[in-house]
């Protein structure tokens, strides 16, 4: 395929979106434009409220940086514009998982769990941005070695101690400071949930999931990975936040045996892993990021030229394979929801949430 690179990139971009849209249409999951706009407007408003509420979790010094155009460098505009949606996404997912899990009927506790999910989602997006774009992987590892993460999980008082870390003292490490304060807020919030349900098994599950998410994030920046390793890491990285959301929902629930939310969360994570890969093929290729659609994902830019990689993506139907995988997960989610005892309107609300955000990512 001897096309110029921009044309190959264009075809990859179009094909990925076309495959997903056709698949979603077949399941009647593509909303009308007005329904989509109305839904996202409500989500945006929810996110704005969360922004105002979460401001109180940040110190004045941190807020000064967080609110400025300096924060996250060239990612600032994209991040700022997406911040309400980033928070609303985590909140809504956390909230719906609580309801689907037959969790607490105490609205306050459900909201606490949803807040926690929103904070985790924000911390996760920041972590991604700091290691992918800002290249701060070493600073993050120094600030947050695995044993410090464990300490944050195991001790309610560790969050304050963490914020006193010497790595956060430098005035030129303010991006890290914001990440640390958001993470500390998440742990404080999670420890409050632990007080609701002191079931050790759930709390231990949370550690396993956090540890898994942390390892997958760090592994994803390694440059020399086999395709299988890249594939595994990509999936783990995407699935982990949803497993964490489901565990947070369980913490509001006295029925800790329920595995429904965990299975559902895993399928949602798998689906989002695929969608992420499909919508970001071109930028991941350009920036050297992990992407399962790209051959030799871990060795990008070293083994093949971009033209050869894009040509292989097109000729070997790699987009179609991942798109099919995405739809398989969507179907699995629908099956799990069918068996879920929650009221129909709650289950429908979950499907609506998922399809609306999928369309949002495609845009």
């Amino acid at each position: 395929m001897d096309w110029p690179i921009p044309f190959l990139a264009e075809e990859v971009w179009l094909r990925a979106r076309r495959c997903l849209m056709i698949g979603l249409s077949e399941h009647d999951l593509v909303p009308s434009h007005s329904r989509y706009s109305d839904y996202m407007e409500v989500q945006n408003a929810k996110g704005e409220k969360l922004c105002r509420r979460f401001e109180h979790f940040l110190s004045d010094e941190c807020l000064l940086h967080f609110c400025s155009e300096r924060f996250l460098g060239p990612d600032n505009k994209r991040f700022s514009q997406r911040l309400p949606i980033t928070l609303a996404f985590g909140y809504e997912c956390g909230y719906l998982l609580c309801q689907l899990g037959g969790g607490s009927s105490n609205g306050e506790k459900i909201e606490q769990s949803a807040d926690c999910a929103a904070l985790f989602n924000l911390a996760s997006v920041l972590f991604d941005s700091l290691i992918d774009r800002a290249g701060l992987v070493n600073q993050i590892q120094t600030l947050l070695p695995r044993d410090r993460l464990f300490h944050l999980w195991s001790e309610a008082s560790a969050a304050e101690e963490f914020l006193g870390s010497p790595e956060l003292k430098s005035p030129n490490n303010q991006d890290l400071r914001v990440f640390a304060e958001v993470l500390a807020a998440f742990f404080k919030c999670a420890h409050c949930l632990k007080e609701v349900n002191s079931a050790t098994i759930c709390w231990t599950e949370l550690w396993d999931a956090l540890d898994g998410a942390y390892s997958a994030q760090l592994a994803s920046v390694k440059k020399e990975l086999t395709y299988k390793e890249a594939n595994d890491i990509g999936r783990k990285k995407s699935v982990a936040p949803f497993i964490i959301f489901s565990i947070l929902s369980k913490l509001t629930n006295s029925d800790i045996q329920s595995t429904i939310e965990t299975n559902l969360a895993r399928e949602v994570g798998e689906l989002i892993a695929g969608v992420d890969d499909l919508v970001d093929i071109e930028s991941d290729l350009r920036l050297g990021n992990l992407n399962r659609v790209l051959p030799n994902a871990g060795l990008l830019g070293q083994t093949k030229d971009p033209r050869a990689i894009l040509a292989e993506v097109l000729t070997k139907n790699r987009i179609e394979v991942i798109a099919k995988d995405v739809l398989t997960h969507f179907e699995a989610i629908l099956v799990i929801l069918e068996r879920n005892p929650a009221p129909l309107h709650v289950r429908n609300r979950f499907v609506e949430w998922m399809s609306m955000y999928l369309i949002d990512w495609l845009r």
């Binding site: 401001e55 000064l64 400025s68 155009e69 300096r70 460098g73 505009k77 005035p171 930028s283």
Partner: protein, 339 residues
Amino acid sequence: MTIEALAPRVDAAISRGLSFLNTAQHSNGFWVDFETVPGSSDEWVSAFIISHIAGIAGSEMLVKTALSALTKRKRSEGGWGFNLKVAPDCDSTAWVLQALLSGPFIRPVMTRRAIDFLYEHQMEDGGFATYREYSSQPNGNTKSITTPNGWLSSQVCVTAATIIALLVHGESPKKKQLLDAIIYIETNRLNSGMWSSYWWRGDSYVTYLATLGLTWANRLTIEDISGIADVIATNLCSNVSSSLINIKQEIFYTSYSLLTLLLSPNTMKVRSTIIEIIRALLKEQLPDGSWPSAPILLIPESQPGLTELIADEGRTFTTSTALKAISQFCNYPSKIFQA
């Protein structure tokens, strides 16, 4: 007036400003301003306005309509220009690239070719020139532009806008070409700590862009940025009569000073200057929601030996700049300024 009392007035000012831009937007999606010999600008002006208002709640439809119009105007070379009668240029294309970031469904071929187009304007000194020596005309003919040297040589204001456009599209500041441009900006810094501009009167427009670009490229520390903010605050405070009372003549530049101050509102002096500027901007907003224009754009050597100074008579350019500055102020919780 307390900070709390300021908040609803600021929200109302933003809403009225957007309403003005809504009325000013032409039916083809463009904003048109700055009347010059080859006509008024639509492409460059619209790209600039989108880049300044995108992200402000209520601007979504304006941005979407203008972006749609702009994407249809891409020239075969991959860039955009002042208007359709003029060859595409680096500065207009840099603003379009920034604008594209705000829109959905931006296809990669468009950004890739625009990025390549920008690099074609890089000169040996690392800076970016507004025009290339040979630029094709809209009718497809390629001919040498008989333009002044300054139009064809590196300029700090063009280079700073280009650096920002490249960075937001994921170009690494360590990439040789981008690094050369960054060094060009650093080399051309004045003793005062500011930068001067070829196309603009005053230094606040270029100083904001240069400061932001260097900050994003990790070339300025927080102390450096605070130092720049301090100089601006001192200049504004030391001559209140010329800066704040005569703000009507200076909305565009004052808004850019405000944006630079908001990069680092770390000291009381900077914070109180910010509040003063906000109050002044609110006071100067016209009943139709716009802010008054003034001669701001320089056209050096428009005729041999002559530099023209022109205003955005339609007030769209200045209004979008004031809107960006005010909405950036709104990003901060009021408690920051109460302290």
